[in-house]
Symmetry: C2
Subunit: 340 residues, 2 copies
């Protein structure tokens, strides 16, 4: 049994013969756990597991984690899984409030200058939203403040991109997504659009409002224990998909919201804050809406898959070098240890 | 917004004013997440969360975790919670196969030389086991190989300890705990005993057999993906409780089991391996059992709470110093950062 683990990422070796697992100690259990896991034939999994085990064990060693605290953690994670349903994803919420979701989006979807930045997916995206025709109503909430969204999708050269699938979802006027309403029989406040030949798309919605993330479960208890509020500033979610372009998961935030700089899930970026205006007389006529209708205008800029892959690889290599992991290679955009 | 995080444990400062959370990047999100969590008034929680967030983020940064991998992780954890029930604890199983459970036991229940070592609790302890009188049957499995267990509990001076509550649980002859049997109406293969005035206790059981941990769920899938087997060598679990003594969670392993040095949950320690003998003619008469009855004899040695606390504090301080965390203090046996 080899001894000791370290905080520095170790290159995971090719699968060794099975180690003898007996009399494991605080000092040698990490290395031995990694060695038994290294029987896995997939090098990326070996690397992920070796880092996961090292961090998990280092966490316990550095904090001298007690059996009681460990059991509280077990119970917290179990409750987090058990409150999750088809329409509630408490583990995504947990990842969001710990900053992991935004971090992963930043890592996996790097953006060159000028491209629309990404942000957290959140736990409320569904796969059952209706297809909307141009100008159709996304929200049927009578109490919401009517707003039309007039948008376009461009590429990095400023050319409109046609046929992009655009998934949009927002809260109702009381700050709830449809899936949070008891007795939901069909989707509302969400829809799927496709950009026209010039990259344009528009639809009728309501002005989104600030809201607390679901806080009646384990994540809410954790936030309360930490002295943190559960609010997100008003925003509308967007997801863009078209072959040849990197998927863009983003959101637009309403300027001036009081939670603009304390979003419970760390999602706000200055470049994604929008001014909600009111339609002009001409626009009211053009879009067939009353003159009091609010207006969200925005131009989204997608990045090609190729440009994203190159940027992701470049940043991954730089990060690996900073960590002293020069014997890594990039496979499918992800680092794996070089094996002799 | 302060920049960058590091793998070195940072002393968590007293709660700062709420940081501005906007435009968070791969480099600065860790520090900012810790700062918002530091609104928590409990210093131990602040320390735990600061290390948790640092390790979670470092894991994502070092592996360049992809959105797809993150989603697989979310789904895995959700499934792990959802398969858990009152009688199945898949998160404990996950902790066990990642080596965390044994590590935490080693940290929280350090043993001086001569004391019985601890090992993993496992997911099968319940709170509904019947109280057994001396010599009563723990197992009612007719197919099992009958065995009597003749044991004693001593203190570090070799003196018998009376009135210790001893929780014992084992598999049936087919390698299943009662809770794994459909239609369980009452506990079997488990019981609670109390040591007599000399520290002795004895009961009738069956010889435990090797078995795979439950592998029809997420943890089983993970083991398979890693190329690991799911087996534990034959063993019997024990938990000792008496005021003034450190709780002892341990197990005895049957010598010669083919999984003795590859336990799926890393629980085997040489000092906990026992020879299963057969009763002598005299013992058969003394305990009123047939002469073919197998025999497990063992002497357990408990450590006082005070001695454990001193040892735990000493080891925690040494570990903190090794980590360069000299501005920590030990509160209730656990490290917390010194606050000015």
């Amino acid at each position: 049994m080899a001894s000791s683990s370290s905080s520095n990422p170790a290159i995971s070796a090719p699968p060794p013969s099975i180690p003898t697992l007996k009399d494991l100690t605080i000092e040698n259990i990490t290395e031995n756990t990694i060695r038994i896991n290294n029987q896995c034939t997939d090098p990326r999994t070996r690397y992920l597991l070796s880092r996961l085990v090292t961090h998990l064990h280092d966490f316990a060693r550095e904090t001298r984690l007690s059996t009681n605290e460990w059991m509280q953690g077990i119970q917290f994670l179990t409750a987090t899984g058990q409150i999750s349903t088809d329409v509630r994803q408490e583990f995504i919420l947990l990842s969001d409030i710990l900053g992991l979701s935004l971090l992963v989006d930043n890592i996996d979807h790097p953006k060159p200058k000028g491209a629309t930045e990404g942000t957290v997916l959140g736990p409320f995206h569904t796969h059952d939203a209706a297809d909307l025709s141009m100008g159709e109503e996304l929200s049927h909430d009578d109490k919401g403040e009517p707003m039309i969204c007039v948008c376009s999708v461009k590429d990095s050269q400023g050319k409109g991109v046609a046929g992009v699938k655009i998934d949009v979802w927002e809260t109702d006027s009381e700050g709830f997504y449809d899936v949070q309403r008891a007795g939901r029989t069909e989707p509302d406040g969400r829809g799927v659009l496709h950009s026209d030949k010039d990259g344009k798309f528009w639809y009728k919605a309501v002005v989104p409002v600030e809201y607390p993330i679901p806080h009646d479960g384990p994540v809410g208890k954790l936030l309360k224990w930490l002295g943190r509020h559960a609010y997100r500033p008003a925003h509308m979610h967007f997801m863009f998909e078209k072959s040849g372009y990197d998927n863009l998961i983003t959101a637009l935030y309403v300027r001036g919201d009081k939670y603009e700089s304390s979003d419970a899930v760390f999602g706000v970026k200055e470049s994604l804050i929008v001014d909600i205006k009111t339609v002009s007389k001409e626009q009211a006529k053009e879009y067939g809406v009353p003159e009091s209708t609010r207006l969200l205008e925005w131009e989204f800029v997608l990045v090609s898959e190729e440009e994203t892959r190159e940027l992701r690889n470049k940043l991954a290599k730089e990060a690996m070098e900073t960590l002293g992991l020069e014997r890594m290679k990039i496979v499918d955009g992800l680092p794996v240890p070089e094996v002799d």
